[in-house]
């Protein structure tokens, strides 16, 4: 039932005592990094001010901006020779964010992912195929090491090439996939096209699904299409990657591993804790990381704590399915991006005007992005030129976003001009 029974079912008072202890250690550890050393000195922060886990609120927040400003190693708290890996975000909007890991950190992370996988019923007898991109994207190596720790036979198929994925699933008897929801739908469709019934013709029984917001309805549809149980997983590179929170077999909320992080949910405006059960921004403090501890990291992800105990017996609190962002970051097809990245490309073409609208919606089980942009005054009646413009801009967007958006040139003045802050993004996906 449990990968680490004692830790997973620890009574709350004990768990909170463990958190407070680890938080004190974390403050001590963090103060070895140039950034926190200076900050703690300025603010008079020391480990002994933590009497209980609630004292975490006395600590300053850390933001993505702080990570960027201290790029690449300003927050590293151990000598670099003790570090064995780094992961980095794509960083197209400035400096990337870099997270550096020691061997101990990687071991802990692998354990965290193994715990998640064990929780949803995966064992060393399973064949686990990872359709995540490997490399900097933490969904690749993160799940790889976790699945190896679990003892499963791993198939590091990486992203794309549906026919090859399906061949592996059939030939190797894959029982579990790690996959983003839009690709899960796509893969199921390709199977049907090839006359394969995933429920009958494959051994698939479980999928771990994350990196892209999705609704309960979408999950049920994917489960039905593939004949599997699908579990929602949550992670972010700043918090290692996958494994931060994961659904248990109840499929009702994601357990946050509170021996790894201290989780708070705050009002993104006031930064005060919201009453239990209310939606706010998730703030996480690592309490189990040595190379790069992060104190009160503002994830920008919006969620709420689910009240009550989970029937699965785990005492670690659950958060609801994620409900959006407190900034304008868009998560689509496993890629994170900001509207400004799109805007920069559009504005680089004098034939295009200043008005644009990004619409995201679910079409045939796939999350699609449509970018409408107005033409400028320079419209020239040249058909070939317009088509070339459309092609060029689409290609540039693809290079930036790593997937191909639909681009639509529209007449000048045809997009709604809004008063005040322009509405640039319409997200029509149903997430709740």
């Amino acid at each position: 039932m449990y990968w680490q029974k004692e830790l997973e079912t620890m009574q709350r008072p004990e768990l909170e005592k463990l958190q407070a202890e680890r938080l004190r250690e974390t403050i001590k550890q963090a103060s070895h990094s140039p950034y926190y050393k200076k900050l703690f000195a300025e603010k008079g922060i020391s480990p002994d001010m933590i009497k209980s886990v609630d004292d975490v609120r006395k600590l300053p927040f850390t933001t993505k901006e702080d990570l960027r400003n201290n790029y690449p190693f300003g927050m590293v708290a151990v000598p670099l020779e003790k570090c064995v890996r780094l992961h980095s975000s794509s960083g197209t909007t400035g400096n990337p964010t870099v997270i550096v890991h020691s061997q101990k950190d990687l071991d802990q992370w692998a354990n965290q992912v193994a715990r998640c996988m064990y929780m949803v019923g995966l064992r060393d007898t399973d064949v686990f195929q990872n359709t995540s991109g490997y490399g900097m994207f933490t969904g690749g190596l993160g799940f790889q090491y976790g699945a190896e720790r679990l003892g499963a036979l791993t198939v590091p198929a990486a992203a794309g090439n549906s026919k090859r994925q399906i061949k592996f699933i059939k030939d190797f008897g894959t029982t579990c996939l790690h996959i983003i929801p839009s690709y899960a739908s796509r893969l199921a469709e390709v199977m049907y096209e090839e006359g394969i019934d995933p429920a009958k013709d494959t051994k698939l029984h479980t999928i771990c699904m994350g990196a892209e917001p999705h609704s309960e309805e979408q999950r049920r549809r994917i489960e039905k299409m593939l004949g599997v149980k699908a579990y929602n997983c949550f992670g972010m590179s700043e918090m290692n990657g996958p494994g931060v929170a994961f659904e248990c077999p109840e499929q009702n909320g994601l357990h946050i591993w509170e021996d790894y992080v201290i989780a708070e949910i705050v009002n993104p405006e006031t930064l005060e804790p919201v009453p239990d059960g209310e939606i706010g921004e998730l703030v996480l403090t690592t309490i189990n990381r040595e190379a790069m501890p992060l104190i009160r990291y503002r994830t920008r992800d919006l969620t709420r704590f689910l009240p009550g105990e989970c029937p699965c017996g785990r005492t670690h609190r659950r958060v609801a399915r994620f409900q959006g962002r407190s900034d304008d970051m868009i998560i689509l097809k496993g890629v994170n991006f900001f509207p400004i990245q799109i805007e920069k490309i559009l504005m680089g073409h004098k034939e295009l005007g200043g008005n644009y609208l990004i619409t995201i919606e679910t079409v045939d089980n796939n999350d699609e992005i449509l970018i409408e942009v107005e033409l400028s005054d320079l419209f020239t009646d040249d058909y070939a030129e317009l088509q070339k413009l459309s092609r060029d801009v689409t290609r540039e967007l693809k290079d930036e976003l790593l997937f191909t958006p639909r681009l639509k040139l529209v007449a000048k003045g045809s997009l709604q001009v809004s008063e005040g802050k322009a509405v640039r993004v319409k997200d029509l996906r149903k997430l709740i």
Partner: protein
């Protein structure tokens, strides 16, 4: 030797063509010929109108993506594929490519509206071969 043509960018959206024509009608501008070329995403409507400059101003004022350019209008004997062919042959021999062309019938003549890749070269061909081109003035009498 050339006439003004109005080009309008049309979104592939319900009612856009109607809206543009409504603006012209409101300004009491006559349409002599029109053609719409389209892709899946957008279309371009090209128009020969009674008062191209005023039409351009009206559309521009109303935030329509519009462009004014020069095209040739060449009158042929009606219903005669031969004269049509003769004309295209002259252009071909002049090393010209036709970018687009449409036609309308008027007073027993077939009028070809065309744009090539080289306006100056086309002027030469028209002049040297004495092709029957129409001017803005001719059009206003139609």
């Amino acid at each position: 030797m050339t006439i003004n043509q109005i080009s309008v960018f049309l979104e592939n959206k319900y009612g856009t063509l109607n809206q543009v024509l409504g603006l012209l009608a409101g300004a009491e501008i006559g349409v002599i010929a029109a053609t719409v070329a389209d892709t899946q995403e957008f279309g371009i409507m090209r128009l020969i109108v009674s008062e191209p400059r005023r039409a351009y101003a009206v559309l521009k004022e109303n935030n329509v993506s519009v462009h004014l350019n020069d095209v040739f209008a060449i009158a042929l004997d009606r219903n005669c594929a031969g004269t049509f062919r003769d004309t295209t042959e002259l252009l071909t021999k002049g090393g010209l490519n036709i970018e687009y062309m449409y036609s309308f019938a008027c007073g027993g003549k077939l009028v070809l509206v065309l744009r090539t890749n080289n306006t100056e070269g086309t002027r030469d061909v028209v002049r040297r071969n004495g092709l029957n081109y129409l001017t803005e003035n001719d059009l206003s009498k139609l």
